[in-house]
Symmetry: C2
Subunit: 134 residues, 2 copies
């Protein structure tokens, strides 16, 4: 992994508009869009901050994993996404280091990007997403 | 705030060495040092990731705020630090937008950097540190 940076920090919120009051209006970050992702049962807003993004995530159903997380833990940072050049190589590297993957093989989004989550047990408590741009 | 980026994501951990097994050994991030910050009752490791850092933070006493956070919430992401050009202007901007600051005036570290925390109530649940490099 020669090049790696923070792609985004995902923040679970109760309400997108209310959170935008801070991240967009007060801080002045550019909101690059709000969209419903039906298959993940969330509404998401993307805000640009340097080479990274803040992703505000609001559950749109009551029984998704993210809805349960919000109910149990409250609003706040949910996961950290790191962009890597080659996700296949990254997963092999994780496994060789005895890091526990939630996804042993990459999952694929509609836009072709591939990603895999690392179990928080292996990272010091952080849900880490590894992500390769399509 | 014309320029703003993620300075660091602070991660509260039970054990620095164990967490470095992921962030340094498995991911390959460069560890830029480990130091004890006695006045904050923590040991901290800094890892470079793109233009940002991961800060692993381990409480070194049992009754600090960070130790209580770890006992109550468990290991994981603790706060998000955004670097701004002018922290005085940033705080005024926050106050004009009715954002609740934990520190209404910047605090100063030994190395001269100035910082102020924003209350999670105003951000959608994230403890946000605003920081101006010395």
């Amino acid at each position: 992994m020669t090049s790696i940076h923070i792609d985004h920090v995902a923040v679970v919120v109760e309400d997108i508009d209310s959170a935008l009051g801070f991240w967009q209006q007060a801080l002045g970050l550019e909101c690059q869009g709000i969209k419903d992702i039906q298959e993940e049962e969330v509404q998401v807003a993307f805000l640009e901050v340097g080479e990274s993004h803040i992703e505000l995530v609001k559950p749109t159903t009551e029984d998704s994993g993210i809805a349960k997380y919000l109910a149990k833990r409250g609003a706040g940072m949910h996961h950290l996404c790191l962009r890597v050049n080659d996700i296949d190589a990254a997963i092999v590297q994780m496994q060789q280091a005895d890091v526990e993957m939630i996804n042993e093989t990459p999952r694929v989004r509609d836009n072709g990007t591939r990603y895999a989550f690392v179990h928080p047990r292996s990272t010091g408590g952080v849900l880490v997403e590894l992500y390769e741009k399509a």
